[in-house]
Subunit: 699 residues, 2 copies
């Protein structure tokens, strides 16, 4: 539904400019001038009560006076008049309004209330509102420029990159890069304060837009986490790469972001996890942001991560191999027979991968042809990067031969990602890119593009993992109030999580009986809904190997609790068998204000804490996604068994993570946190078990 | 000495071209053409037995026929003739020869021997040899182009960047970037196979060259590690930033490098440590390599790492803050009074840092002036980055005003690093850079340059740390043969390293007496020069708390040794007190084939092994450098005390590392390895102690 109403706006056939000016340099004049100059095909209605004609077009006193229907109104009036204008637009049946004016939520105070009134009008009338405090948007295919940003005045080449930006300036800069580089946009959508239409809406629109192949997403914060997850999932389902810049990676950045944007910033680690889980690629500079999108829009996606490198310089070849490998590409060696074939031609060539044709290329230009054909025909690489140095700068017959070679290769191998690196004049770049061959001056940008392509190929090839959080009808089944560990273990155990065998003992005799039933030695812990840190008050005893020891421990623990936490309600002692072996891990649920429940995973131990070596995923997800979050931690090899330890039961661990994620998703409306620490993963085939459970719920 | 002879070559006043050709497109013709076209002031002597005149110059049949002295001979003849030519050059008293021809060590087999003969001629006669298999060099200040690479035919703007490259193609590419970007080189020196002159020689030359401020170093491998350390130390002492690309970061890269270069590749981790210790900055792309050097050559060095950011776009401001902080810059907030001053002008501006002048700049262009002056005058930033979006693309009065603003600021604050970010036409860039203001299109490249500047400021501000390895006259004082742990502890203890108290017991009674003297409980270990892995054969017992336990352990350990290692010579059992508390670390010596002894440091435990969280330094070094290597590990916070543990005695740890480094440097010629594992760092004030010592020496 939302997408349909947005489509009417972003694909508008008729446009009114409210507050239109006859001066094409003014904010109210620029949209009229750009719509006219760029050749927008539909009617443009300038609205200005003081003029009959504006920039050669008949002007109207008010939006209600326009004779035909209006899909889009561009509102260039001061902030104080916006509310009134929106009302008039709604009455006229306008599809949507772009509001440039600032002074709303971004300035705080009354601005927040004024913006809330704009939102209310949009929600009540169905009018879509873009902004306020935004630079509007441009639909380059329709020559529809609903902006005053000078970047949009430039002639954009037709392109298949769609841009969503919460920052107008960032959107403008990216557009200027696109114009300069010559790989253009389908749409550039800026969202400003997002009183109605937000970045998730725009992302969802582009994910379904037939004119868009690759999506650029510039985010400062997310208002509606669920909608953003849906939009990211949609883009992925439609196999559209999403390249994202999200600000606030560092503390300094987060502080700056807070003072800049009114969007809820959220934790950067959570965003990082979301991007990873949904297959988005995170860029850290404007150049990388646009560069990746341009390369993939031109060259398409590879099918996998095997990269073949061909070079005319050994040094640059090694540089590319380093960069490719560091980015996760498989720089697999050429088949030996292929290596021999090239060695027969150039005995001192480097031939494993990269294939280095050497300076011999100066004497035998056809060597490049031979090398590329060998690499493409005889090895199963998904992506090929060819570094040509300054050879592309040649003109005349040499240039034509070179271009013909690359074009032929792309034609013969349409499913492979072919990327050219080297220095080339704009005309050569244009011809290469028209044939589906992105050109990068910097060789590592070519390997970076291949790696980004492989990243998307991998993301699109695997099942989604995540499913939309089920609506529980608002009713979590969790009991209220603080829960004891015994209650937590019962609830989580019932949800399918493996809990250590245990009994609650209310007397010392019961404790002894429990210990003997469970098998000595045992551990004992105080059970109280009011005591969270049991060890600190002396409420935990381990390795109790005899009935006497159990009896003594019961007395000691309950005494300690009475003395150190005199007001705590004591349920008794939990008795559980001691467990030896296995790898200690930590499983948890973090409730994120933006994205809801996230599952956390890490190894146990103080060093993991210091190194923050943990991974996160949005709930709920399946076992495959759980395996990926396990594989993501740096200490992953510990689970494979190091220093003679057996490999751990990673399947059992993954199953527990997925189960925990489903539990969290189902109970999200009442859940505060879950902490299974330690969660011991036993040797392969023996499963895993939580030795401790904390479950916090809303009271 | 070496530097003087090289200076004669690189600053040659007279040049002969051996194998000169009349065709300016041929390898033997290009140097003649370039020397003439670029305006080299000294005599150029073409040598060709078949011609009287070449490209308008009188030609000579042989180098011996040249009437005047010859500082430099460019040798463009085929490989087979090179040996003969070198002999003739030596006889003539030529300063040095550049040899282009390949087919020497890089092709293996006979080529290696042929190259060895060239080296011998150079060593015997004092003739300096550059190459073979190189692209020569260019001294742009003297218009001296001793190369055939087309990049050197381009008109290089005068510049203060010196380049050393082991790859001719890489050197050529960097030169083309310099020409395109307009920030030029003093020298471009390529070294090829390094039969005589190597990268370290060239680096040392540039470190002393008055025309060079910033050095670019492209390395594939290092032949003479000691010379490279000396050259890096010299560059640092002379406050010249060294930006380095070293290939082989990844396994794929190392494999490719091996097939490409005949230099000894060495371990990448060791190179990384050397660059860090000597203050070089490692770049990972050609763009970064040249970009950092260009920015620092234009803008000079900041004094420290405090960065102030000014922006016309909030989003780009946050992007820069993130990048700056991630690179270690201190994005300190503006003084509150300064923040208030700007808030008084633009109430909704972001003012902590970055200072975001907002879109209001469109209405009040003078806001940028105000913002920059506030940031420069009222806060003590070392570097300022100003993002101007597309404003620099303006022409006419606006452009002039903008340029004048920046020039004034730089003039008023000559000691600060000022960098402009945004899109600008070449003419604007040229004017900014002439005034000492580097311009970066990509905003994060500006923060990156400031961070690199801060990196060098820090490196140049601290004492060197490293000292050249003392010459021991070839006589290490270490005993020969395999050493027992007791011997290792005695030697290392005598060197000043803290060893746990211990006694060697040859009988069970001696063991009991030792345990009682040292204090129970004790640990016991088999002592044998032939048993390295004591635990594996049952040769270690811990926590022995009584005389009986000690007696039993002695029997068990010696029995185990006799059974499991029947041929090992057994010295007895080492008895040492059990130690509780402290942080377990590992100290070691790694003998690197290129750079000699390196000290390794890491925390104990399996996770450190999995994460490879260790640091290295070239020996010998002082306590300050030791502190830096301690601070470098990711798990550093463990030493500060986590989860209630006390802070460890880091000064004692640093002292031990420095002591170990001096020991290794003094004993380098006989030492194979040292391993102190665990080396326990006790709480602050209590010192540190090695519980185990392994010392391997050459037999």
């Amino acid at each position: 539904m939302g997408s349909d109403t947005l489509r009417r706006v972003f694909e508008a056939g008729s446009v009114a400019v409210i507050g239109a000016s006859g001066d094409p340099t003014r904010i109210g004049g620029r949209p009229v001038a750009m719509l006219t100059a760029h050749g927008f095909a539909g009617p443009v209605y300038p609205i200005n009560p003081n003029r009959d004609e504006i920039q050669g077009l008949p002007a109207y006193a008010a939006i209600g006076d326009v004779p035909g229907p209006v899909d889009l109104a561009i509102c260039a009036v001061p902030g104080a008049m916006v509310e009134d204008v929106l009302g008039q637009c709604a009455a006229k049946g306008v599809g949507g309004v772009v509001v440039f004016a600032g002074g709303f939520a971004e300035v705080g105070g009354e601005g927040v209330e004024q913006q809330a009134r704009l939102t209310a009008i949009a929600r009540e009338t169905g009018l879509r509102l873009i902004g306020p405090n935004c630079m509007g948007f441009a639909n380059f295919g329709r020559h529809l420029t609903a902006s005053f940003h000078p970047a949009f005045a430039l002639q954009m080449p037709a392109g298949r990159i769609g841009l969503v930006s919460q920052s107008g300036a960032f959107g403008g800069l990216s557009s200027m890069m696109a114009v300069e580089r010559g790989v253009g946009f389908s749409h550039a959508l800026t969202t400003g304060n997002e009183a109605d239409v937000d970045a998730a809406d725009c992302l969802a629109f582009l994910a379904e837009d037939p004119a868009t192949d690759v999506i650029l997403l510039y985010l400062e914060g997310v208002r509606d986490g669920a909608a953003m997850l849906d939009a990211l999932a949609l883009a992925r389902a439609n196999r559209k790469p999403v390249v994202v810049v999200k600000l606030g990676r560092t503390e300094a950045g987060a502080r700056a972001a807070q003072s800049h944007t009114s969007a809820l910033a959220g934790t950067d680690r959570v965003f990082e996890a979301v991007f990873r889980q949904f297959g988005a690629y995170r860029a850290n500079s404007i150049e990388e942001f646009y560069g990746i999108a341009a390369a993939l829009a031109v060259g398409g996606l590879p099918k996998g991560n095997r990269a073949g490198l061909v070079t005319v310089s050994g040094g640059v070849g090694v540089l590319m191999a380093d960069d490719a490998a560091a980015r996760g590409l498989d720089v697999a060696t050429l088949p030996e027979a292929t290596q021999r074939k090239f060695k027969d031609i150039v005995p001192y060539a480097g031939v494993n991968n990269p294939l280095d044709v050497t300076g011999q290329i100066l004497n035998q230009p056809e060597l490049l042809d031979t090398a590329l054909r060998l690499v493409l025909d005889e090895a199963d690489y998904d992506a090929i990067v060819g570094f040509q140095g300054a050879a592309l700068a040649a003109t005349g017959a040499d240039a034509d031969r070179n271009l013909a070679l690359w074009s032929d290769l792309k034609r013969d191998h349409p499913g492979k990602f072919l990327c050219v690196a080297g220095m080339a004049p704009p005309a050569v770049q244009e011809r290469l890119e028209a044939a589906g061959l992105p050109l990068c001056v910097e060789p590592t940008h070519a390997t970076r593009a291949a790696a980004a392509g492989a990243h998307f190929a991998d993301a699109f090839a695997r099942p989604p993992g995540w499913t939309r959080r089920p609506s529980t009808g608002g009713a979590s089944t969790l009991p209220s109030g603080p829960l004891t560990e015994v209650q937590a273990m019962r609830i989580l155990g019932a949800a399918g999580l493996p809990m250590t065998p245990h009994r609650l003992a209310v007397t010392a005799d019961e404790a002894v009986a429990a210990a003997e039933a469970l098998g000595l030695p045992v551990a004992m812990k105080i059970v109280s809904p009011d005591i969270l840190h049991k060890t600190e008050i002396g409420g935990v005893r381990l390795n109790l190997a005899s009935a006497d020891a159990v009896r003594g421990a019961f007395a000691a623990i309950t005494d300690a609790a009475r003395n150190r936490a005199p007001r705590a309600a004591i349920s008794g002692c939990l008795v559980a068998p001691m467990l030896t072996g296995g790898v200690e891990t930590i499983l948890g649920i973090h409730m994120d204000p933006v994205f809801g429940p996230l599952v956390m995973f890490g190894l146990g131990g103080v060093l993991v804490e210091v190194l923050e070596d943990v991974s996160f995923r949005v709930a709920p997800f399946d076992d495959g996604e759980a395996h990926r979050m396990i594989d993501e931690i740096k200490g992953r090899a510990v689970l494979d068994g190091v220093r003679g330890a057996p490999a751990a039961d990673i399947d059992a661990l993954a199953a527990a993570l997925a189960t925990l994620s489903r539990f969290a998703a189902t109970q999200a409306d009442r859940l505060l946190s879950v902490d299974l620490n330690p969660f011991v993963v036993l040797p392969r085939g023996e499963g895993a078990v939580a030795l401790d459970a904390v479950l916090e719920v809303r009271t």
